[in-house]
């Protein structure tokens, strides 16, 4: 399996503060890679660095074998990004936004309308095509932005918290889009605060904290490192405590030794446990 994204020792500073601080990361071609981290950890900054949107002071990045500084045009052809913030031209219609993307990605004239209609139809945007972007609700804007990022058939798709603010239908649709693209060979780089989303979709997960990668592996690898069984109990000091064990027996033994507590749950360790243990902060919503 070849590595399609190679990030080596990247440092990105805003003023004195490093938002990304010596990041090393490799993403395999064809995988769905999940990128987790607390607010302000540097996820968006990482995506912006790799997708050539922002400069960086140290390190190197290559995408599909193209160094993004030396060969930006070739690298850009391979990438598509659905940004955390909707990035459409509000003064234009949905169709015009899509058309503009198609042009800027140099999709041949004969292909443009066909691809736009096909994707718009797939996400259910057809009746909104001639509406101004600023008359659409947030979820529909996100769908339009999604279509824009897919028009040029990128080999690597970045999704920065793509399902924030989407209704259930739209979220399921997006998950399907991600899976379908991945089946067709597209590499997916997904950042999210919804751990169940990452658990459901991703082959491998990286966890970033304070601009540094602190864990990397498949969800089950990460969980096993912590201990496969978790004991969750509501202790005497009115706080829920978590303990991790490598076997059920040890967990049971510990649970029975607890004595005077209100609630005890013994369950399999999940990705959220790993996340909280590693980053020391609990995951908040959007």
């Amino acid at each position: 399996m070849s590595e399609i994204i190679i990030v080596e020792g990247v440092v990105k500073k805003y003023g004195d503060r490093a938002a990304v601080n010596g990041l090393d990361l490799r993403v395999n071609e064809g995988e769905i890679f999940g990128f987790l981290g607390p607010n302000g950890a540097g996820k968006t900054t990482t995506v912006r660095v790799i997708s050539t949107l922002t400069d960086y002071s140290e390190g190197s990045v290559s995408v599909g074998g193209h160094d993004i500084l030396k060969d930006p045009k070739e690298a850009k052809k391979l990438m598509g990004v659905i940004q955390q913030h909707i990035s459409l031209d509000t003064d234009l219609t949905v169709r015009e936004n899509m058309m503009h993307h198609a042009m800027m990605h140099k999709i041949p004239k004969s292909e443009r309308m066909r691809r736009i209609n096909e994707l718009a139809d797939y996400v259910g945007l057809d009746e909104y095509m001639d509406k101004m972007i600023n008359t659409l609700s947030g979820g529909w804007k996100k769908r339009a932005a999604t279509v824009c990022s897919l028009l040029h058939k990128p080999k690597v798709l970045f999704l920065d918290e793509p399902t924030v603010g989407l209704d259930v239908q739209a979220r399921r649709l997006l998950w399907d889009i991600i899976r379908k693209l991945n089946d067709n060979g597209t590499t997916i780089f997904l950042t999210s605060h919804y751990i169940e989303e990452v658990e459901a979709l991703c082959d491998r997960v990286g966890i970033i904290n304070d601009g540094k990668l602190i864990a990397l592996g498949t969800p089950s690898e990460l969980c096993n490192k912590l201990g496969s069984t978790a004991v969750e109990y509501y202790g005497a000091d009115n706080k829920t405590e978590y303990k991790y064990f490598t076997s059920r027996e040890e967990a049971n033994e510990f649970a029975s030794s607890l004595g005077d507590v209100k609630t005890v749950i013994i369950r399999n360790t999940n990705l959220e446990d790993c996340f909280v243990e590693l980053t020391g902060k609990s995951v908040s919503g959007p």
Binding site: S87, L88, D89, E96, M99
Partner: protein, 249 residues
């Protein structure tokens, strides 16, 4: 070359669509100021006056055309790119497309060039009707085009460097507005103390009004001013290209 021109067209396409959606508003807003200057100074204050040997109205029409190329080109380019970069973030999308930085600079300045050319042409056409001293020459057309590009490039630079909408407004009122009034648009620079003249010759609009006036009144053409104007255009262009290439935006 064809590929490069196509890229410019692709970049500017969305802005030109935007102009089509809002044509009347955009045009009236960029023509209003110049028309007021024409009324207040040309007819109000300047009736019966002469400047450098020509009727004042013939003197200020090329000046107003020059300042129109500044105000219309600069503000349309700067305002639109500013919102696209800081608020819509659609400029990010453009930066992720396989386009050359030079094509992005030219493409993003196109809206300003088109608005500047249309607005200044309206002013100049009014001038042609009002006074027989003025005539439209090939040199005039070339200079007004260069002038629109210069100020549109300046608009791109201002929008790329602006940290917020407020810093754009500051730039407009501290740099653009004084230029509008002082750079030989309403009066001959020779009326001013030489120290002030030196400062004004360091500003692009001065060269724009001097060359447009000479080209339309049939005076000796100041080639050196045209060279200065082009130097400003090239400098602004290179600054923009550098900002985009190094992603310091």
């Amino acid at each position: 070359m064809i590929g490069f021109l196509k890229e410019i067209y692709y970049v500017s396409w969305a802005d030109l669509r935007f102009m089509r959606h809002n044509f009347v508003e955009l045009l009236s807003s960029s023509i209003m100021g110049p028309l007021l200057y024409l009324l207040a100074f040309g007819f109000g204050l300047g009736a019966g006056m002469t400047q450098e040997g020509v009727p004042y109205i013939a003197f200020i029409i090329p000046g107003i055309a020059a300042l129109t190329s500044l105000s219309a080109s600069f503000s349309s380019t700067a305002a639109r790119l500013n919102v696209q970069r800081l608020y819509y973030r659609s400029f990010d999308e453009m930066m992720m497309c396989p386009l050359s930085p030079s094509a992005i600079v030219f493409g993003k300045s196109m809206l300003g060039v088109v608005r500047g050319m249309i607005s200044s042409s309206i002013i100049f056409a009014i001038g042609l009707v009002l006074t027989p001293e003025l005539s439209i020459t090939p040199l005039y057309v070339i200079v007004i085009l260069i002038s629109c590009f210069t100020f549109s490039f300046l608009g791109v630079a201002a929008a790329l460097l602006a940290k917020s909408h407020a810093s754009m407004a500051t730039f407009s009122s501290l740099i653009v507005l004084p230029m509008t009034f002082l750079c030989g648009t309403f009066f001959s620079l020779s009326n001013l103390p030489s120290a002030v003249q030196t400062v004004l010759y360091a500003l692009p609009l001065t060269h724009s009004s001097i060359t447009l006036r000479a080209a339309s009144l049939g005076w000796d053409f100041p080639w050196i001013s045209l060279a200065a104007l082009m130097a400003f255009a090239i400098a602004f262009f290179l600054i923009n290209r550098h900002l985009i290439r190094t992603k310091k935006v």
